[in-house]
């Protein structure tokens, strides 16, 4: 598995970025995180699972609750910033390809 690419896919989603920003300042339970979003709870759980799998979030058991906190080490890897730039060009060029596939020359 290419962890590096997975990390960037993880942060490509706006909800997941919002989750990372939320837990950046304090550890939170899944319930507390979900209460910040209009999205259905299972959707938030899925996002948390993805972020945990690519090791951007870590779970810590405190009593009966599981708290999520940020894995600073891997967030630093994301901080080389290139992937969103690549994604921007990739989206643009995908659009170009789509436009030109439907292109009909003027008479």
């Amino acid at each position: 598995m290419n962890l590096r690419r997975d990390v960037f896919q993880a942060i490509a989603d706006p909800t997941r970025r919002a989750i990372l920003l939320l837990v950046a300042t304090q550890s939170l339970t899944a319930g507390a995180i979900a209460s910040n979003f209009d999205t259905a709870r299972p959707t938030v759980s899925k996002h948390l699972q993805i972020l945990t799998e690519c090791e951007l979030l870590e779970q810590k058991q405190t009593g009966r609750e599981i708290y999520y906190h940020i894995n600073a080490k891997n967030m630093k890897e994301v901080a080389d910033f290139i992937e969103p730039f690549r994604k921007m060009w990739d989206d643009r060029f995908n659009k170009l390809e789509e436009v030109m596939k439907n292109y009909k020359p003027k008479q």
Partner: protein, 155 residues
Amino acid sequence: MELKTKIDAKDGQQDLWITREFDLPLPLLFKAFTEPEIVEQWMGTKVIKLESEKHGSYQIETSDAKGNLAFRANGVIHELVPEQKIIRTFEMENTPFGVQLEIYEFEHVTGDTCKLNMHVIYESITQRDQVLKLPFAQGINMAHNRIQEILTALK
């Protein structure tokens, strides 16, 4: 999975390479860079002016949902060899990012596919790194604004 668009930006350099293979014949790809109404479609921007010729110039702009000017950029075309090469400058107006020199090379792969090599040279290493980080910073801002909206709604 092989990525279609690749970025090569080495640490401590003031340039970068963007390469992309297209599932299009080369003349169509070239047209996408030289015809204003096509540029508008894939760049999602308004083309104020685009003179696709040697010593021509161009200007593009984007407005936000409220109609306020959000972004304007311009440049001049230094060289244009049909279906082969474009050398131009690019400058985002009212930003500290300076002027970048862009060299586009269009390459045949097969009859139906082609490749674009873009070499972008910035005024300094710092400016290259700032431009490179821009989409990341914007992404974080969008997420941040979303949180602001949620928090405001809760009040």
